[in-house]
Symmetry: C4
Subunit: 291 residues, 4 copies
């Protein structure tokens, strides 16, 4: 990654900050994540009245120390990267800036400091540190499964929302006049979501026999419906896993994704084992030479 | 879909209203869905006392505007379709009518307007708009899985209902005399459903040690039983997925199980589309004729 | 099932009552199930104070009518079956008797009538009626999956119970002195079950920061642990399904359970397709005749 | 397992205490587990005020009897095992000691007795008793699945924790000023965990319309996210199952994937156990040598 000549200071700083493969880079990332977690904890604790009363001043100082550290880090990043513009407009570039600004906005509009918890988003950087131990490929498997099932999930969510509006309205008609909890359709829909998702706060509950019967139906339905996203994710995860496992590549056209038993490439039709080597997997069907 | 001569106005209107493949048709469907969502939101918000007090008059006008729009749309549909009777008696035909009637019934019997939320059912039309991007096949996969597992689900639901009646009755015997929440078997059964489905409102909870022990058993049982519908759906979804994938057969060796993008048979290497037709799916790699 | 000569009355009654294949038998079973459901509904409704006040007398009569009907049915069953003893000691024989006795015991010890809800168990007979449409094989699939995973479930449940005792005790140590809800270990264990199973009544909730942190851990754990029974059931259901699907039988030794791609019997080694017929599945590997 | 000469007393005691294969050893383990469960029950019940008032003295004696029994057992274990040091530092060695100490510490610091519930950990020994019936291999399957999916679970849990902090903070900003339940970010995060895990105590619930809308989003998200660990565990359990099943290879054609009971290769028909050894599994059908 570096040329033969000694890299410049800027290049060396870039490697430490932006890459996790070197010991210094990994150390920097770990230190950064600890700083992020501490700063998020400070923001969170500062909102607890009793803690604020006793340690408010300390936490105020801590917040500005963290802000100064993150500001310097942001400026160094901008300085050492080859394309500062691309970084500044990237997802992490925007998050990095958004983690500093609220402190300053808070000087003008008190309360904005609470937005500092979005610093937690930077913790997603942790995946980069863990890249060396294949964590990112795991995350990719999860993301692949989610992406592949996005269409199914949209169909599922819109069906659930339709159900929830209908059941909420029915409960409004049934209990609206007698039960304060169902005094409007939006409240009833909120109840239906609470019930169908099996969360069940209990802040709104049916009181009439018909309402309870209705609630029973929604609960049994929710109990069954929860199986659908699980089925979707399991299916897609399985598919993503299979795709990841089938790493045999066609020597002719470089196509991947051959099934375990395939003898010929599905894209170009070439024999996958024309020059059989001992890497030929057991269980392969040997075909006549006339092919 | 249309003959060579210029289609009549009625035919052109029909294509816009009933089909989503043309730009005008897609636009119409999107506009319709927005109108549906707005009208449902209006009905829902009108039931919130504070909103009704301030915007009641506006929402009343909005309701009649939407009703007029949907009435005109319904009449146009009846006019332009070839078989108005079949449409009027179809699922969407009945839903379309049911979305208009409550406004008029509401003139005679106040309160019927709340039934207008069934307009949300029309949103299921959204799947037609999305047809172009294969959303419907996804919905079909879900429906196939549900249909294929219908028998298993009936067996499962009747077992759950039996359990719920038995546990509810036991709790009535245990806590009925000391706990207001279990004062009758139907109420206890309602509690059992709440618990077994892991919703857990907390409006009825056991108070005696024996009752709590019983509740613990029901909870652990519910925790395990929730796995059954998930297993069923996952299994059937997997089967439906396999069926959807494995429909192409090699004309040479009758091998099945080709992946969606395959051009050549994985067993014998024969071209799967030797006589290319226009049914060849987009994304297929066109190969030289010499094959 | 019947010999050439006309069957005796006793035999004909037996076929109607004990078998569901004939129209009369199916009709009898359906009528019986309706009677069971009605009688259970009557027992349940009689415990609702307002219903009891108004329809108590009617329900009392109904109960005795149902009891008389079930008593006669029980006696007829004993009379017409070939081995009354075996029936009387079978699962359904005991259930049938247990559905009648509480009415009579109730004459001596009021309250025993509530036990009549065990009549619902007789509804399991419904599976016999549905046998004709393969419902029982579905139930068997579920039961097979449960039985096959019994060992895994025992390991899982004992691990969960250990976790629940440990977390309950920890919460007792943490909140026991300040929170009435955690005033003893059994109560705390009850809370832990409520939380781990994601039921979450909310009748007992942590109030101290440490207690809430602890509860957070239990919740995240429960969220993950719920995946285990699902995984177990899905796996076993899949296995049971595969076993059910592989119905090819070896012509030599009648062994079943051959995998989809098998050419030779796994038990006796005979060629499964020695005399190829047109039932040979496409995709089968044709072997040299020398075998 | 023992040599020809009569084993010493120490050796015989060791076999009884540390091994479960002999009848005496199995009996000892079962007795031990009953003692453990009773002692845990005694500790738990002693924390219930009403029980303590009536049976406090009895339970105090019982505790010391159990402690004496476990102390003697611990000393005998140390005496009879070949390497007492290795045992004392092993997982069960430490647990065994930790099950005795709290009684003595309790003499100095009252309240330490409650730590005696960690005796429940010793119940994990139950898996050793059940080893004979393959329970441990089941536990290993579960552990394998968990271990293999550890990386995916870390990625999943850190994503969930990030979501929970962000949603908690948003709710603090939305409802913090009007709702006592969201008076600090940590409390709001606790609410977010309660909701996302579908536990839903209901001790903290949103009251403003925006807050309820937010809660609805969290619930729907939680409903979908719960599918992810299930998918992970199902996938890994499936893999672990396959690994356990597919370990036998045909010596002739190297085919894999023979079922547990297979005697002949499904591909080439060769005998899988041509040179039968004593590793042949019980339940195998012995075939004539002429094969």
């Amino acid at each position: 990654m570096t040329s033969n000549d000694t890299p410049s200071l800027r290049e060396r700083v870039r490697i430490v900050i932006f890459e996790a493969e070197t010991p210094a880079g990994a150390l920097f990332d770990v230190a950064l994540i600890i700083a992020i977690l501490l700063s998020v904890a400070a923001v969170m604790l500062d909102t607890v009245p009793s803690v604020h009363a006793r340690y408010g001043a300390t936490l105020y100082v801590a917040e500005w120390v963290f802000t100064a550290f993150f500001l310097i880090e942001y400026l160094v990043r901008l300085w050492c990267i080859r394309e500062p513009r691309a970084y500044a407009l990237s997802f992490f570039g925007i998050v990095d800036l958004a983690c500093i600004l609220p402190s300053f906005i808070g000087l003008l509009w008190p309360g904005a400091q609470n937005l500092l918890v979005i610093r937690i988003l930077r913790v997603l950087r942790v995946f980069r540190v863990l890249r060396m131990v294949r964590y990112v490929s795991e995350a990719n498997l999860l993301l692949d499964a989610l992406r592949a099932s996005a269409r199914k999930i949209i169909v599922f969510v819109s069906t659930v929302l339709t159900l929830v509006v209908i059941f909420g309205s029915l409960m409004y008609l049934i209990e609206g006049s007698t039960n304060e909890g169902f005094s409007s359709i939006p409240r009833s829909v909120y109840w239906a979501v609470t019930t169908l998702s099996t969360v069940g706060y209990g802040d709104i509950t049916p009181i009439t026999p018909i309402g309870k019967t209705m609630a029973t139906i929604v609960m049994v339905l929710g109990y069954g419906i929860i199986a659908v996203p699980t089925g979707i994710i399991t299916l897609e995860m399985n598919e993503a896993h299979k795709r990841a496992a089938n790493t045999r590549t066609c020597a002719e056209c470089s196509a991947e994704g051959h099934s375990q038993e395939a003898t010929f490439c599905w894209r170009c039709g070439a024999h996958l084992y024309r020059k059989p080597t001992d890497r030929v997997e057991p269980g392969l069907i040997e075909l006549p030479k006339g092919d």
